[in-house]
Amino acid sequence: MKAAFDRRRFDALLPWAVPALVLIVWQALGSAGVIPSRILPTPWAVLEAGYQLARQGTLLESVAVSTQRALLGFAIGGGIGFALGLLNGVVPLAEKLIDSTVQMVRNIPHLALIPLVILWFGIEEEAKLFLVALGVAFPIYLNTFHGIRSVDPGLIEMGKVYGLGRLALFRKVILPGALSSILVGVRFALGIMWVTLIVAETISASSGIGYMAMNAREFMQMDVVVLSIVMYALLGKLSDWIARLLERTWLRWHPNYRNI
């Protein structure tokens, strides 16, 4: 019994072994002066900078602003993508009309549109929201559309035989059937959301983590620069973790998801 317990603990800790090693070596090299602090500050320095900013309240504020920006863009883009995906998935005429256009627009890398976006929206919030929304919309659209089209037609037929009307069929059969695909789209879109936000905040910002980083760069505060990278990474990890939690809850019934 004890051996099994130890083994599980060991397996859980194993993925952390290499990162921990990297941190230790990085700290050691930094402390020894092999890596000058203006090139790459030590983990400890980054932590200290984080502590300072947290005490001032700047850290929390920046994180809140960036997160809000990202989530709002996600809500807008994801909402549009989801609605279009549903529409095209359920109404064949809509698909014939709209899908090709969506695919054409999708092929334009949204980050390449930045100069145009700045011209249209300036460098304030709208520009960043537009970019995030544009980036997020397509994975959500594709996966929603695909999810709906992949619902087992046998289940739909069964639903009709058992007297389910159009709305009930949609709620009980089609939407739940599409859910696993939609959630994959969400996880993918979350990654794009963060990347787009980072780029948008790098172009220009007057608040948020990007602003914090640019400001720090002006004053050669490399530890704050690294800190902002760490914050972005942590936020990305957190959002992915939440998405996986949703998957585990909503897809409990799925034989493939039972042992995440």
Binding site: E157, M158, L164, V173, W253, H254
Partner: protein
């Protein structure tokens, strides 16, 4: 047999029904009369059109020619008192067994669903996901779902084909028992002649889109696999496989005098 609800089942009439898919005529000139409460098995080789006929009866497809009548009324689509058991269980994977059976209950009540599960012996699995049930258990849940709505016509489209031999026999006995209790009309499409003889009052063979054989099965219920059973099964199987058989010979073996052959 006395506590059977007489006259409950839907009576079916098929007049000159046919179905073509493009150039291909899968069925043509089908004439059938099925009495209320009768258990009919439709057998035939793969692709002979038996599933197509079942779908016409269910109202899932429209006939290319001819008409079908349920209790005298023209079949134009799905009928609220008709239930279908498919080849695969077709349970919603994201709903528990009980919730799936609830789909079949007209009022959507949980109690009726549990009662139906009890009928098929799966009350203890009510809150399980279909993903953890075995194939046989899933079909039993599907059967509970079909019966939960107290259908007057139950259509079975080779529902036991994917099950192992022992589970299949158990399911056949379960279906027979429930049919005896509830008195619905039942139409079973199967390629398994043994299953047809085990369950049906009447076996119909569809060959090249038309009715080629229509024999009664007057063996006593519950069905025992004795020599009469085997003989009748052999006869029908021979005919399915293309050997010439006199329909009279089929009904003859059910005469008392043939008991001691």
């Amino acid at each position: 047999m006395n506590n059977r609800r007489a006259g409950r089942g839907i009576s079916l009439t098929v007049r000159r029904a046919g179905k073509r898919f493009g150039e291909l005529a899968v069925l043509s000139g089908i004439e059938l009369d099925i009495r209320s409460g009768q258990f009919v098995a439709i057998v035939g080789k793969s692709g002979c059109g038996k599933s197509t006929l079942l779908r016409l009866i269910a109202g899932l497809d429209r006939p290319s020619e001819g008409e079908l009548f349920a209790d005298g009324a023209l079949v134009t689509g799905l009928h609220p008192d008709v239930r279908l058991l498919f080849q695969d269980a077709r349970l919603l994977p994201w709903k528990t067994a009980a919730a799936n059976v609830q789909l079949g209950v007209r009022s959507g009540g949980k109690e009726a669903a549990l009662t139906a599960l009890r009928l098929v012996g799966l009350e203890h699995k009510a809150s399980e996901w279909p993903g953890v049930l075995s194939g046989g258990q899933r079909q039993r849940v599907a059967l509970a779902r079909a019966l939960a709505g107290e259908p007057r016509l139950l259509l079975l489209d080779e529902p036991l084909g994917a099950l192992d031999a022992l589970t299949r026999i158990e399911m056949q006995q379960l279906i027979e028992r429930l049919w005896l209790e509830q008195g619905f009309t039942a139409i079973l499409v199967t390629h398994d002649v043994s299953e047809a003889v085990a369950l049906a009052d009447r076996v119909i063979l569809i060959e090249e889109g038309a009715v080629a054989l229509d024999v009664p099965v007057a063996l006593p219920r519950p069905r025992q696999r004795d020599h009469r059973f085997a003989r009748l099964e052999q006869l029908i199987l021979d005919r399915v496989m293309g050997k010439d058989v006199e329909p009279a010979e089929a009904s003859q073996i059910l005469e008392p005098s043939s008991l001691f052959v």
